[in-house]
Chain length 161, copies 6
């Protein structure tokens, strides 16, 4: 069975050595969904209109979290980031919101964890702002949508919008 | 419709004023699940045995993230925390892992976001350690299981283990 | 001449001992102004309308900076914060923007530095978002407007809006 | 009218994509002034002499803040920094102090925000150390003095020492 | 054999629950020593005189590290701190420097780790500033000198200055 | 006498300008030792067996601290890190534990401080976990074992295992 790359031969956690890898363009796209009741969904849409800060607060939280990823995920490499984008769109079919994040860099390792962390923190921030209305909202489908760059090649999730 | 507590009357985000609330015991329990393929599940269990660092790394990441919550969630109050516990158990039925977090404090506001953030970051850390094996693992069901303390009263999720 | 409280008798910096002070309600209000050319002012107003993120980004940055104050100002005490509010209003007479921040807590020491840091960082964030248009914008009048609570009594700036 | 670079076409905040920009030498110089009463000015000078920590504390706070800039300013890119210098000189004509900061790097984007943040935090730290003597000190003229490097070319403020 | 308090009955790390403990005055004093060659010792003393920033930089680093302790030591509780003092004195008998730190708070748990972390980081900062002169300086005797407050009672190290 | 590189000609602390230095491979290895009583040593070994989190918690703390070095040591440059490894081995002859850290990067300056900070924080974390059993454990011999890369050439400590 293929061993875990983050463990050395003695089973101890380590930050993988990337110093021999080539610097290259890396992109990762991730998403998260926050499912809620119809009434909560409408309250957020109302609170956000016409110029409320609900979605912009969650977007900013996601962007800033991407930059903190290596502080949060113990074995992540600290990286310069070249671009971070967080989009949050209403998803009436849930009902709730979909968060989609895109992170780019030029580095020796990928930015999947940055994109996933941004998505999770943006969704948690939406939860925080609406939790006085509903406590049993659920964050679902925090997952990688696609990545490109690096020796492991490109990846695209089987089904996504 | 009930307005969002984190917006002022002009729709602008603010940190809610809790200075008039009573200090009291607060507890929150949250969970997250990480779903993966059977082969990844087995690789993690193998990598963790007999003394590998996989689950302990994710537990530690969750504990430390609970302490960083107010740095990550823009409108969260910075709080002293009295206890943080993160449990990660194999869930063969997913297959994958369940993360359950418990946070306690004596404060003027609750610790739901601390428990949820710990659960999400612990699950993301597991993802990070196994992502060389499988990129389409999915984090599901990041949600509050129960809370107690505070004026809004106790909460318990409808269905949980 | 009255000595500086943050130096000990040997002239060395220290964090002042507040452990014997009473816990009480503390409020501080601070402001900052960002002066710019008329064309930059109009571009920000346009960019912010109808639902642009310019002012909300700066508000959030101010709120989050208030929570980081003791990490930034070396001799500041780490404090729980009970409320943080950041308002940013267009000031056509500058032209530019006025930032006003309010921070409240129940603690053994005041929150003047939290309010001032929030005001400065919110103004810097506005600068950042508009600096591609104009580099010689100037942040002015970062100052305390009022404070209450604590042994040193209340303070109100001589002239303010 | 030229749109704001930090907003996408929908008006949403984003971290600008710099991955296609060339890595090059970047330098930024910024300043801030802290104006105070003559008696406060003299108390700081006395407190700092012969070996007091007042100005060195503020210098260090500025240097460390430069390194935290991307944590504080939401849309700033995290960058390696090659040099940070903070000078604080007495300015009897204010009376008060002038802070001048210089930041250098080799990167795909500039370090104006790092220099400005260092200047603002150094001035706030001076305020903190003297606020027991005078609460209505004012931070003025936080501004960029010059920058070089990058596609937008060099900049030098119209009037400065 | 007495089990470790930071492990639960399954051997898993946790942040110990202190919510049932009384809030009380806590003090901890710690030290560290940095041993070096005579020539390095003299260079630091010279660099520090008459107004050099060497010792003040290390003092500040220690004070700021005390405030970051719960971010660094995974199972430490985040606490408000009431006072932090870092003294660094030349120790010709090493030759080198002795760092002594004092941390006070009113809390449910002690501040030993804050005092020890401040001492270690202050010594590391001295090392950093002199490492161009000598790389084999050694940090020794990072230890607790005394503590008071809390159920475990007072402690004083057997031998110290 | 050779002046300190971290002071400018006026004796003021600065972050040394490395922008003209070549990017190259840098490696640093450091160690720390934690000396304790035999009974504490045995309690940790027991607590850690068969799958306890004691040593893994300290390892993780060391790895994460390496990434925070430039936040802690005021004049350290923020750097991307390519690899961090922390090994902790029982040392019955102390009795106690030896921590050995290895940090690698491709950068314009070295990673000695990252390796030393990781070693010190890992040892402090071990202290934290065992301090309920023994308060007079001592951290010793925090020192650089070897470094390579950079203009100052390679270094290897005179005596080490």
């Amino acid at each position: 069975m293929q061993p875990l790359s983050h463990l050395d031969t003695g089973g101890e956690a380590r930050m993988v050595d990337v110093t021999a890898k080539a610097v290259g363009a890396r992109v990762a796209v991730a998403e998260a969904r926050l499912r809620m009741e119809q009434s909560t969904f409408e309250a957020i849409l109302t609170g956000n209109a016409p110029k409320g800060d609900v979605l912009s607060t969650a977007r900013l939280a996601g962007i800033m979290a991407a930059k903190r990823t290596s502080d949060l995920i113990p074995l992540c490499h600290p990286l310069p980031l070249g671009a971070v984008q967080v989009e949050i769109v209403p998803a009436p079919e849930l009902p709730g919101f979909r968060v989609q994040t895109t992170v780019k860099t030029q580095a020796q390792t990928g930015v999947e964890m940055e994109a996933l962390t941004a998505a999770a923190i943006a969704a948690l921030t939406l939860y925080d702002m609406a939790k006085a209305l509903q406590k049993d909202m659920v964050i679902e489908q925090v997952r990688l949508i696609r990545k490109s760059g690096g020796k492991s090649g490109d990846f695209e999730a089987a089904e996504h919008d």
